[in-house]
């Protein structure tokens, strides 16, 4: 089985031995897997989604919903409103559909982890800094303007607009090589410019003797006398969802969970782990977009998908402001109105620029195993989160007008469809009601958080899931706070630090200090 990739099969059943099994192949799972594989361990990665190469990527949004999102993108969080969750279910996970943005973990976050969660011995500045540096170098993290054929008007106008407002704003840092400016990050990069996990780390794990099981949702972590000894599940056809052969992976050194902030905690619950903090402290960066309509063409779809960002308001207001080229199909679905009014409003799509406020929300939610193998996420942004969003949206509206927009479309229920430069105050006074805003959740954290307090954490500073030996969590579930920046780089760094500790402790145990 060395170097193998096993996809859906109706039969026969599959049984594989490994040193480590990693459940999930996104930024956390792949980052941990490559460290362990390079250290000489046999690693098997198990992924619920299919392995799709660039030539397999869908073109249309319906195809994206079918091929890259779990459950056709119908994952939602519910509270007092319904919030769509943007996640991928494919080999490479979120690294396939994100905008390739890599931001270093802010120093205040590392300090908070130390002071409030007792993680300083593991995730200190030195270790985090070294891991972040190494990953940035390996994945070719560069300024968007350096490695793209066309930066894009959408990005340039946000850069200029926020800079004119006196806010520190910059091109994003991304892990790409030879970006063709097709603004299609969300649909998977057909040019393989994005350094997604299935383009680099995962094939390397295979070349080092590891294996990958795709179309393979894990249903249970197998334990014996409190020790995690592997995982099991059944293959599932990615199109028909028909169940196939059973699979089982025996891992003699341990199980690493990286099934995402919506997948890890429910799987731990289904596997009989019962801890007071499991499924709690679930957090996110909810975001909402605001559109500016310009007299001249902007053309959202020529340039980097998300080329500009500002975290000038991160500390004061918990805000990240960024550009975003949402595909035409999604813009059509999310533009206000219906009937002739809606079609008419879409005629100026080439003149639209779209920018987003992502909120470092204070809200805490829960994630639990649902019925029929599903997941139930309860989450409700707080009034303070809504106030932050109002501030961010108002700043973006001002930036649009600074750049010459003839109107801004706030997309808030209760406000006019379009407002002028004298009406930005309407956004600042917009309803503090989640149902009035079009929130989307894309950065997710928690559910199995790390910490020193057993009542408030699932994973201890020793990196084990409490009460279960050889069971670890290496994805965003473990992060005890939000970040206020894109989490991919942080997730990778934390996963690699944990994996290195595992490799070192195993080595010490088996070969002496």
């Amino acid at each position: 089985m060395n170097g193998a990739h096993l996809a859906f099969r109706a039969q026969p059943d599959v049984s594989i031995d490994a040193d480590y099994v990693v459940v999930g192949s996104g930024s956390g799972g792949s980052a941990a897997a490559i460290v362990l594989a390079r250290a000489g361990y046999r690693v098997v990665i198990v992924e619920a989604g299919a392995w799709r190469d660039a030539a397999d990527y869908p073109e249309t949004m319906l195809g994206v919903m079918r091929d890259l999102f779990p459950d056709w993108g119908a994952n939602v969080a519910t509270g007092d409103s319904i919030l769509p969750i943007v996640q991928a279910q494919v080999v490479g996970g979120g690294t396939v559909i994100n905008s390739a943005i890599m931001v270093r973990t802010p120093g205040d976050v590392i300090e908070q982890w130390d002071q409030d969660h007792g993680l300083g011995d593991v995730l200190d500045h030195r270790r985090m800094g070294a891991a972040l540096d190494e990953i940035a170098s390996e994945l070719h993290v560069t300024d968007t303007r350096v490695d793209v054929t066309h930066f894009g008007e959408n990005n340039q106008r946000l850069l200029d607009g926020l800079t004119h407002l006196g806010l520190d704003t910059h091109p994003t840092l991304r892990n790409v090589r030879g970006c063709q400016a097709s603004a299609r990050c969300l649909q998977g990069c057909r040019h393989s410019a994005k350094q997604a996990a299935h383009e680099g780390w995962i094939p390397e794990v295979m070349s080092l003797g590891g294996a990958v099981l795709s179309c393979a949702p894990v249903t249970r972590i197998c334990r014996k006398n409190g020790v995690a000894i592997g995982v099991k599940g059944r293959f599932r056809h990615p199109q028909t969802r028909k169940k196939g052969a059973h699979f089982r992976v025996q891992a003699k050194r341990g199980v690493l969970m990286a099934a995402s902030a919506t997948g890890t905690a429910p799987l731990l619950q289904r596997s009989g782990i019962a801890l007071p903090a499991l499924g709690r402290f679930w957090r996110a960066h909810p975001g909402a977009g605001i559109i500016g309509v310009y007299p001249d063409e902007v053309d959202l779809y020529h340039g980097a998908t998300q080329g500009t960002a500002s975290i000038a308001h991160r500390m004061a207001h918990g805000l990240k402001l960024e550009s975003l080229a949402l595909p035409l199909e999604l813009v059509a679905g999310r533009t206000g109105g219906a009937g002739t009014q809606l079609t008419r409003r879409l005629q100026d799509i080439r003149h639209q620029a779209m920018w987003v406020s992502a909120v470092r929300a204070e809200a805490e939610g829960t994630v639990k195993a649902g019925l029929f193998g599903g997941v139930r996420v309860r989450y409700r942004p707080t009034i303070r989160d809504l106030k932050k969003l109002r501030i961010g949206s108002a700043v973006l509206a001002k930036a649009h007008f600074d750049q010459g927009a003839r109107a801004v479309r706030p997309g808030i229920v209760g406000l006019p469809f379009e407002i002028g430069p004298d009406e930005v105050h309407l956004i600042e006074e917009a309803p503090l009601d989640n149902r009035a805003w079009t929130w989307v959740l894309s950065h997710l954290f928690g559910g199995a958080v790390m910490g020193s307090d057993p009542e408030r954490s699932v994973v201890g500073p020793d990196l084990h899931v409490r009460g279960a030996r050889q069971l670890h969590v290496v994805d965003a579930s473990v992060l005890p706070t939000t970040l206020g920046v894109n989490p991919q780089h942080t997730i990778m760094a934390v996963a690699q630090i944990i994996a290195r500790r595992l490799a070192n402790s195993d080595h010490t145990r088996h070969h002496g200090a």
Partner: protein, 143 residues
Amino acid sequence: MVVLLKWVLAALFPSVDGLIGLDSANLSAPLQRLSKEATLTFRLGLYLSAFAFIFSPIVTLGWPLPALWLGRSALDRHARAMAGHRWYLMRQAMLMLKTVGGAIWGADPAVRGQLGYAPYGHDPGTFRSDHRVDVVSQPQVNP
């Protein structure tokens, strides 16, 4: 259901001022694909939303008629009223319908051509089957 959905989506994205809407687009193929391939949850949400649209003119216009019987102008007013309705669930039902309608409308080659965007290719729907790579080193814990 496909016929009903076609009618509802065409009402939400009608042609106007020369821009092609879903009333002139090929809806059958994507909707059939959707009814065959989408998850049960997704389809259920979509069908319930379509029913909500059809049976809510009593709420939006005060008319005790299904939307299927409305004239063009009244249907347009119904669609608009439902999209901005004060009841959150009504707006959510419209969001579901508009998400699917928008996905089909924005991918239609004629629409894309009119807006100056290149047409999409087909969705291959393929994925990597079993595959083996050359192993450059056998696993062996580094000393």
